[in-house]
Amino acid sequence: YAKYDQTICSGHSKDGLCTGSSRPVASIAWSVLLLPPTTALYVVLSRFSLFHPLQWLTECLTVLTSASAIFSFILLCGVVLLVGFFNLEYYSVVPSIACSKIALLGHVLHPRQFFHSLVHCIMGVVVAWCCAVTIGGRYQALGEVTGTSHGPQMCLNENHLVLLLAGAFVGYSHSLLGLVHNMNYISFHTVQQYKYLCFKGTLPLVMRASAVQALYSLRNFLALYFFMGYVPRAWVCRTLDLQVDSSVYSLDCVSGLLDLSLLYQLWISASFLLFTWYITVLLFRIFVTEAYSFPVQPTFQEDAHQCLPEVITGKQPTILKFLALQDLARLSNHCPSRRQEVFSLSQPGGHPLTWTAVNRECLSLLSDLTERLVSHHDNVASNGRTNRSWVLFPPPGGSRSWVLAHVHHPLTSSLMSIIPSRLPSCPSSPHVFPHVHHPLTSSLTSSLMSLTSLTSSLTSRCGPWPICFMMSDWVLFSLQLPEASSQALFADSQAHIWALEGLSHLVAASYSEDQYGVVQTTLPSILSAMLMLQEAVDRHFKLPHASSKPGRSSFSMGDSSYKTLRFALRATLKTSIYRITATFGEHLNAVQMSSEHRKRLQNFLEYKE
C-alpha cells in the first residue's frame, strides 16, 4: 500500500490541493474502481442457492459476462460518480446543527435538500433497476405477458415494481437520514493512519452499517407499501396501460409480503445500494481529511500563497484552513525541524513573520470562541428572565381558529425567513454562529411577545383558553433542543482544538528551541487568551444541559463526533495550559499578567484545576 499511497501523494500536486479538486477526484476514482468487486459479490449473493452450488456459480459467471450486466454496470458507475459529486458539493467540516425541531423541518424542506433527496431517490430507482436486471427471473421486467382467457395480455409484474419502489425509498431515506445524522459532516480523526489501513479498518463497520440500515429502511418501506401500495400500483398500471393479473396475489397483503425470496432480494439489493454509496462517502472522507504537509516558508516567492501562515490566515475554503491548522498541530508536536522554521526570523529584516502570523490567527480563533461563549452566556441569562416572565403570564384566551390562524402566520414566516439564511452549511467564518443563534431566538421571542399581546387583548373579550398557552409552550419547547445550542456553539471547535494544541506545543518547545526569543514576547497574550477561554468554558459548562453527554449511538455512517467536541475542547484547553505551566514552571511568575489570571495560573502550577 505504500506504493499506492505514493502514487496518490504524487497525484495531488500543491495547486491541485489548493483548488480542492484532486483529492475528491481520487476518492471518486477509487470508489468506481471498487465497484466491480462489490457488484460481483452482489451477484453471487443474490443468486445464492444452497442446493445447486455448481449451477449457482455458472449462472453467476454467465450473468457477469452478459451484455445487460455490463450495461447496468455502466449505469452503476454513473450513479457512483453522481453520488461522489454530491458528496463533494454538500460536504462541510462544520456541522449544521438544527437548534430546534422547526429548524430541522426547515432544513428538510429547503430547496437544496429537496434537490438532493430527489436525485437520490431517482438514483435509488436506477440502482434498483440494475439489481432487478441482474437478479433476472421473476424480477426482470415491469411487464410480463400472461395468457388469459382473452388471449395474451401485458400484465404488471409487481415484484419488479416493489423492487424499484424500495430502491426509491432507500435512496430517499438515505438522503433524509444523511441530513438528520449530519452525514455530510466530515470529522478529522485524532489518530492519523495511512489511507489504506484506515479504509481497511472501517470496511467491516461500513458493511455492517449498510446491512443494518437496509434492514431498517426495508421495514419502514414494507409498512408503507402495506398501507399505500395500491397507489403507485394503480398509477403505474394506468400510465403504462398494464393490466393487473388477478390470478397472482397482490403484494400489499401479509401473505404477499411474507415471501422470503422477495424479502431476501429486497434486503440484499438495499444493502448493495447503501454499501456502494457509503463506500463513496467513506473514501471521500478519508481522502479529504488526510493530513497535508504545507511548507512553512516559501521556497520561491510565487509559492507564498501556499505556505502555512498564508493558508492559516485565509478564510476560504474552510477545509484548507482546517488542514492547515491540523498541520500546525502536527508539526508543533512531531517535527523539530519544521518547528525551527516557525521560530526563525525573516531573512532581510529579521522579523518573526511566520510565528507572528500563526500566533495572531490562533489567538484570534481563541478570542472569537471566548466572545461567542460570553455572549451566549449573557444571552441565556437574559433569556432565562424573559422566559420566566412568560410563564408567569396569565393563561390567555381567544377563539380557537382565529388565534391559530393569526398565531401561526408570523411565527412560521419568521422562521422560514431565518432558516434558509443559516442553511449554507459551510460558514466561511466562525462569526456565523452567534448571528445564527440570535436572530432565531430574538425574532421568535418578539413574535411570541406579539402573540401574547394579541391574546391578552383577546382575553378581555372572550373566555380563558388554555390551549393557546399550551401551544406557546410547545413553541418554546420546540424552539430549544436543549443540547443543540451548546453543540452549535462548539460546532467548529476542531479548529480551536488544533490552535490550542499547536500553540501550546510550540510554546513548550520554545523553552529549549527558540533561539531568538520570538515566542516569549507573546507569552503573556497567549496565556491570557487561554485563561480567558478557560474561564468562559468553565462558565459555559455550568449551564444546564451543557455538560450532559449524548447517548452513545450504535455505528451508523453519520459522524456524531461534533456532539462531543465541547468536551474535547475543554480537555485540550486544560492540557494545553498544563503543558505550558509544566514546561515553564516557576518562570511564569516573571510574566506580566493580571492578578486574577495569576491566581488561576497558580492553581495550574499547583495542579489544582
Binding site: T190, L197, S337, T564, F567, T572, Y578, E606
Partner: protein, 546 residues
Amino acid sequence: MMCSLALFPPPLPGDGETSHYYSKDEFTTDPSVWFEESHALNLYFPRESLKPHSRPESSSKAAFRDHCETLYTRSAGAWRDAGLSGLLNEIANSSAEVPKWLGVSSRCVLALLQWVSSFHGSLFPHLTLSSEEMTAEFSQVLDWSDCAVRGFAWHPHTQKCAVALLDDSIKIYNPKSSTSPTLKHRLQRSVAALQWKPLCASDLAVACHNCLLVWHVDPTSLSTRYTHTHTHTHTQPHSPQVLPQRFHCSPSRRPSSGCAQVLSHPGHSPVTSVAWSPSGSLLVSASPRDTAMLVWDVAVESCVPLHRVGGGGVTHISWSPDGSRLMAATPSSLFRVWETRMWTCERWPSLKGRCQSGCWSPDGSRLLFTVQGETVIYALTFTDTPGLPLGMSGGPKAATVVADLSETSLDTPDGDTMVGGEIQSLAWDPRGERLAVLLKGDAGAGRPAMIAVFKTQINPAFKLLPCGFVQGEPGTEPRLMQFNPNFRHGAQLTVCWSNGKITHVAFYFMSARVPQPGVGGSPPLPISQGRPADYVNQTLYTELIS
C-alpha cells in the same frame, strides 16, 4: 560488556529490619498512613482486612436467576450476559420448555462453537484461561490474584498516588491532605492496571475486568469520597469522626455521571494494560482476548481499534516518554513497536517466549524488554529522529542482550544465597539512572523474589552496572514496583510487598545528564536525620556521581 548478577554485592539478609511502622493511634485501625519529611507515603494494607469480592459469576447468577422466570426472560438475560453461547446454553439446558428441534439444534450449534473455540484455543492457548486467570497471567504484578495491592500509580506531576486494592477499591493518597478518597464503582472489578493522565491534575484511568474507567478526582475538594454506586461528591470540612456515619447512609443516592467515564468496546475484556500518551491526549488500552489495540479519545469517548494479524491479543503496552513510540506485547512470541505519528508498526517475532515486560529510556531511544522463560534483558536502540517520514526506517535490526540475570549464588554472611531467574517486570527511573528488575524467584528452589537494581549509563556507551538488591522484611516478597517521577534528589522506588506494605526506597545521586534547575548545590544527605535506617541495604545508597 554484559552485566550479570555475579557482579552484584551480595544481599545482606536480616539487615535493616528495624520497625518501620510506627503506629500512631489514629491510624491503627485503618491502613496506616504517615508522611516522611520527603512527603513519601508509607502505606500498609493488611491482607486480612481486605475482602476480595467473591464473584464466581455464573454460579451465583444461576442461583439468583430463579427458574420461575419465563424462558424468554432467562434467555434475554443470558444473551445480555454471555452472548450467543450463553443463549444457546440456556436453551439447551431448559429442554423441558422448548420444542425438541430447538433444543437439539441449539445443542448442535453449541458443540460446533465449542469445537471452533477449542481449535482457536489450540492456536492461542491463553484464550482458554478465564478472565481472572488471564489478568493474573499477564499482569505486571507478581502473583496478582493473591496480592493485597493490585496496582499502584504515582501522579506524574505531584506527590499523589493511587492504590488499587484486592477488594476492588482504589484509594488516593496525597500528603497535603489527610483524607484519602476511595473510588468504588460497580464495574471496577479485578483492576489490572491504573495510570494518571499526564498534564492533568485529576484524571485516573483504570483497567478493569470488562471496561476501562476514567475517574475525575477533583483535587480541590479534600474530602471527596466516592461511595458505593459511586459517583457523587461530598464537599465538606474534614472531620474524621463524622465521616464514616455520613457515608454509610449515602449509598442510595443516584450517582452523577460526571466522576467516572466508562469506556467499553465489545470483545475488549479483560483489559490488562492502559497507557496514556505523554502529551495527555490519547489513551491506549489492551486486552489479551482482543487482537485490536484501542486508541481512545477519552473526552469524546470514541476509540479507534488498531487491528493487526498475529499474536492473538495484546497484553502489555508501554508508551515511550517522548510519545513517539509504543511497545505492545502479545500473548505469543511476538511484540510490536508502534510509531505514533501514522500508527504503523514494526513486528518483532521469533522470540523464545512471549514478551513479559518492557520499559523505555527517558529519551525514548532505547527499549529494554524481557522474554518469558529467559533470564536476560534485551535492548533495542532507535537511532532515527522521530517525526521524519517513514519514521521506522532507522529502527534497529536486532536486539542485543544487555544483562544476564541467570541464577547465581552469592556469598552472604549467612551462607550462600541463590539469586536470579525469570524476570517479572522492569522499571526505569525517569532520569534514566537506575533500572529496577523484579525477579520472579522460585519458592521451591529457595530463591525468593527480589528486586535487583542496576545503575544505567547511556553515554558514551549503553551500560548496566550493578547497584544492589532491595529486600523486604523476612518472609515478604516484592510484588510491584514503580519509580516516583517527582523525587527531586535522585530516584525513589516504590515497592509494594506481599504483606500489603508499600514502602519507598530512595537512591540519592546527582543526575549526570540533566541538571535540574531547582536542585542546586549538594543534594541532601541520603539517610534521613534520626530516623531508623531505611528498608534496604546500605549498599543501595550509592556514592554521588558528579
